[in-house]
Amino acid sequence: MIQMTNVAKIYPNGARALVDISLKINKGEFVFLVGPSGAGKSTLIRLLYREEMASRGQVIVNGWNILRMREREVPHFRRNIGVIFQDFKLLANKTAFENVAFALEAIGVSPKEVRLRTKKMLKLVGLGHKENAFPDELSGGEQQRVSVARAIINNPSLLVADEPTGNLDADTAWEIMELLYNINRRGTTIVMATHARDIVEQMQKRVIVIEDGRVVRDENMGAIEYGT
């Protein structure tokens, strides 16, 4: 599903976010990406859906070689990837409903089906009553859940989640984790960056620890443990 070989990422301002990353994630896996603030987790994730391009090395996702992809193939490629952004990236001019619906409209689903699926999805993340609210009329946690809903609504084969529970209380966080767990069981590969120690410990999934742009640990069933 995902294959990274000797990947480095240096941002235009000179920041070396990733130094040398090689890893392989198989179809159907659930992988936690952990590491201290500024380690490079978000950068790694951005490489997966091609928001950023690697400065060196090879990134293959879903059979696509990201560095060789043509501009106009990108939308098609992204349709099979759901992304939960660390900063949510909701459309400020659209309601919660419209934000989630957008992911379906962009791939040409019929209005009726859009309506049905979006409503169901919003209920699933506990926002059935907030569908007409605009992002800035939602609490931080509510915005995060809209972002989650948008990422998973079109059953992507790969879900990348950048701290999807950072703004959620423990109970709501666990509801979301259950959602992700179920999606993963139905075959979606999940890569999730997180700081939530308890979640990682309890889920007992593969954990990749990143520090200073390098993979420092990669365990099949682990807990967060890094630094000194």
Binding site: E51, R78, L91, N93, P111
Partner: protein, 293 residues
């Protein structure tokens, strides 16, 4: 684009115009003002060209007949003048008319001093089809029998032609400058609108929307905004010019004004089309920069 996407686009255009109402109004106003300026310059050009033609058509050749010609001979000369190449029309001025005009221009008493004698001959005013022909035609006329003298504004033709051509060029220059100004103004405005929504565009791309899916609503929005702006401009320019033309025709009767409603409608329609065109094109072009995510 599928049917579902088409429905999305229409809905999207409506809600986007409403939710960015402030930007929409600013764009409509900008396009309106730019189109008013452009429209005004177009009418200026039309009238400048019209005026130029008018001036040129008043270039005349005065043909004085020999004093001893009979009326028959004078009208025969008229026929011959009409038949000449390049002659548009002629006008007979009898010696009586000439004297009366002289009396009016100078003084009655001067005419009285002449003691009933009329020193003026019959004469013809000859108008040519093209101002450039005046000289040639005058020479030809000079050689006709019965013609005593041919007078035309030798020293006026050059400057006049220069002036009328200049008038046309200035008209075109004004249109060109104002057209460029309008287009730049509208483009800047649209670019700013798109710029202020660049985050939105980026997010749409990251969520998997194709370029055309993002582009269509912008294109249509640009067209709607341009159309509305252009229509307002048309209304303003149309009504303004109508008032202007009527005002001039009723007060400055000697100034010729373009007032063929057919031509006016064409210009106004052009304004609307240009508004829409720049609106749509501007949107598309501005969008390009931000679609590369």
């Amino acid at each position: 684009m599928g049917l579902n996407s088409a429905r999305y686009v229409l809905r999207e255009v409506g809600s986007s115009l409403r939710r960015n109402i402030w930007l929409s109004i600013a764009s409509v106003l900008t396009i309106m003002i730019a189109m008013v300026i452009l429209g005004a310059s177009l009418f200026f050009f039309l009238n400048a060209a019209n005026l130029a033609e008018n001036f040129e058509s008043e270039l005349e050749i005065n043909v004085f007949t020999q004093e001893d010609l009979s009326n028959m001979e004078v009208s025969a000369l008229g026929e011959r003048l009409k038949g000449l190449d390049g002659v548009q029309s002629i006008e007979l001025i009898t010696k009586e008319q000439a004297l009366a005009k002289f009396a009016q221009e100078y003084s009655e008493s001067l005419v009285e001093d002449l003691g009933g004698e009329n020193p003026f001959p019959d004469s013809y005013k000859v108008f040519v089809t093209e101002p450039e022909l005046v000289e040639g035609v005058a020479k030809k006329i000079d050689s006709l029998t019965g013609v005593d003298n041919v007078v035309y504004g030798k020293e006026v033709i050059g400057p006049l032609l220069q002036f009328t051509n200049w008038l046309r060029w200035v008209g075109m220059g004004v249109v060109a400058i104002f057209a460029v100004a309008s287009i730049v103004l509208i483009s800047l405005n649209i670019r700013m609108t798109v710029y202020s929504r660049r985050k939105e565009i980026e997010i749409m791309k990251l969520v998997g929307a194709s370029n055309s899916f993002i582009r269509w609503p912008f294109l249509l929005e640009g067209m709607v905004v341009g159309l509305v702006g252009g229509l307002f401009a048309t209304l303003i320019v149309g009504m303004g010019y109508d008032w202007f033309a009527q005002y001039i025709q009723s007060t400055l009767t000697f100034v010729p004004v373009v007032s063929e409603s057919n031509l006016i409608w064409k210009v106004l329609a052009l304004l609307v089309l240009i508004g829409m065109g720049i609106g749509a094109l501007g949107s598309i072009i501005s969008l390009r920069r931000f679609l590369k995510v």
